[in-house]
Symmetry: C2
Subunit: 244 residues, 2 copies
């Protein structure tokens, strides 16, 4: 028995998300299909978390318990030859027996890229979100700072979740702008369902002047989803890295 740690990059545009689903093209499904083709072993790629339809990853991590003795380097090369070009194995490493991509994770970093104002480019429609209004970056930065720390993020979570504990800690939150493109980079100990997309939608509405930054403090207290901004579309979201 061996426990392997995979680091995986994918373009979410043509996937129905990470998680295996019957009859649908998913990242986990493609990985397990190609792993079987290579090794004849039916294994489970246990991801650090699910990503939704349309969400991308530079550094998704999955753990795989398996029996084969194929050298690590060969696994990477052979799998990349079998996989479709929108998913790539970046790294394969040996992991401790106790390692689990989801349960062992300590920090995750997400990026969200959005174009504000102007005309939307058809060519970037799968890889960059769009917000039709100009925004005040300084207001957004001030609001972003309010997110850092340990908070009750229940209001920042889509309703369809089975989670019981809504406390999460945000370690850092950075916003940068280049032309009409804004990049949000957020690092925390974990994220609720749609949390990053709701944070970005809320900050953009604050930047636009539609919401006041104090809605964030109010949301921590009242747990009301309705006082925050909309859930941004998935295509601007990237899982950058998972740390253990």
């Amino acid at each position: 028995m061996r426990n392997l740690k995979f680091t995986i990059e994918y373009n979410g545009a043509k996937f129905f998300g990470w998680q295996k689903q019957n009859g649908k093209r998913t990242v986990q499904g493609e990985l397990e299909r190609c792993f079987y083709e290579l090794t004849k072993e039916r294994v489970s790629f246990e991801g650090s978390g699910r990503t939704d339809k349309g969400v991308h990853a530079f550094g998704q991590v999955a753990s795989v318990v398996c029996e084969n003795k194929i050298p690590l380097k060969n696994i990477k090369t052979a799998l990349n030859n079998l996989l479709p070009s929108d998913v790539r194995i970046v790294k394969v490493e040996n992991a401790e027996e106790s390692f689990h991509a989801r349960f062992s994770s300590k920090r995750k970093t997400y990026i969200y890229i959005v174009q504000v104002g102007g005309s939307r480019s058809a060519l970037e429609c799968d890889t960059i979100g769009f917000f039709p209004y100009d925004v005040d970056l300084q207001k957004m930065k001030e609001a972003g700072e309010m997110l850092v720390g340990k908070h009750n993020f229940k209001a920042f979570c889509s309703a369809d979740t089975s989670v019981k504990n809504f406390e999460r800690e945000i370690y850092s939150f950075n916003i940068s702008k280049r032309g009409r493109k804004i990049k949000f980079e957020i690092c925390g100990n974990g994220f609720l369902y749609n949390m990053v997309r709701i944070i970005v939608g809320t900050l953009l509405d604050i930047g636009r002047g539609k919401l006041d930054k104090n809605c964030i403090r109010d949301a921590f207290l009242t747990e009301k989803r309705s006082i925050l901004g909309k859930t941004m579309e998935p295509n601007g979201l990237y899982l950058k890295k998972v740390e253990y």
Copy 2:
């Protein structure tokens, strides 16, 4: 009656090419469907040329003969609201009665972007071609110059074509490199089926040292497809502009 000239941008990743086909998602099909939704007129978007599955455009042009009296600006805005985000109307103009996007075109410019060597990025798999070898840029530039001018490009054309005249004139051909990415920009009076993709595949094989640049001269004379490089994948190809 009015004759409209549309300039259109699209990301080809999720389209089965430009041309309308029953039961398949195509750019022409989406445009005509949305135009009907807006005007209740069944019209034909006559493109400057078809683009294949996976090929993109910054500046495809289509002419449309129609009857409605909607102001140009409103047509653009309303269509963009109806169209999916991977196709955008960049401009709508009034055209002369005699204008036809295909038959009136004088010059077309294509771009091909490819990564040479290194690991392929999953995130760019739909928008950039890939060539697994390092190449000598100088050799490729010398070979590229041999393409400029009027030549018999029959060897640079995929077999499934009904075209009878294979003479085309290339006005300019530029190659530039930035990191591992090479950009080919080619302007000519017209292009045969797969011609740009065969040119790029051939130049990359010349740059790699697998073919000699004189294969280009030989191909003009012998019309043999087999002495040239492979047809590059469609996803690195962009129709940049059509001039009239």
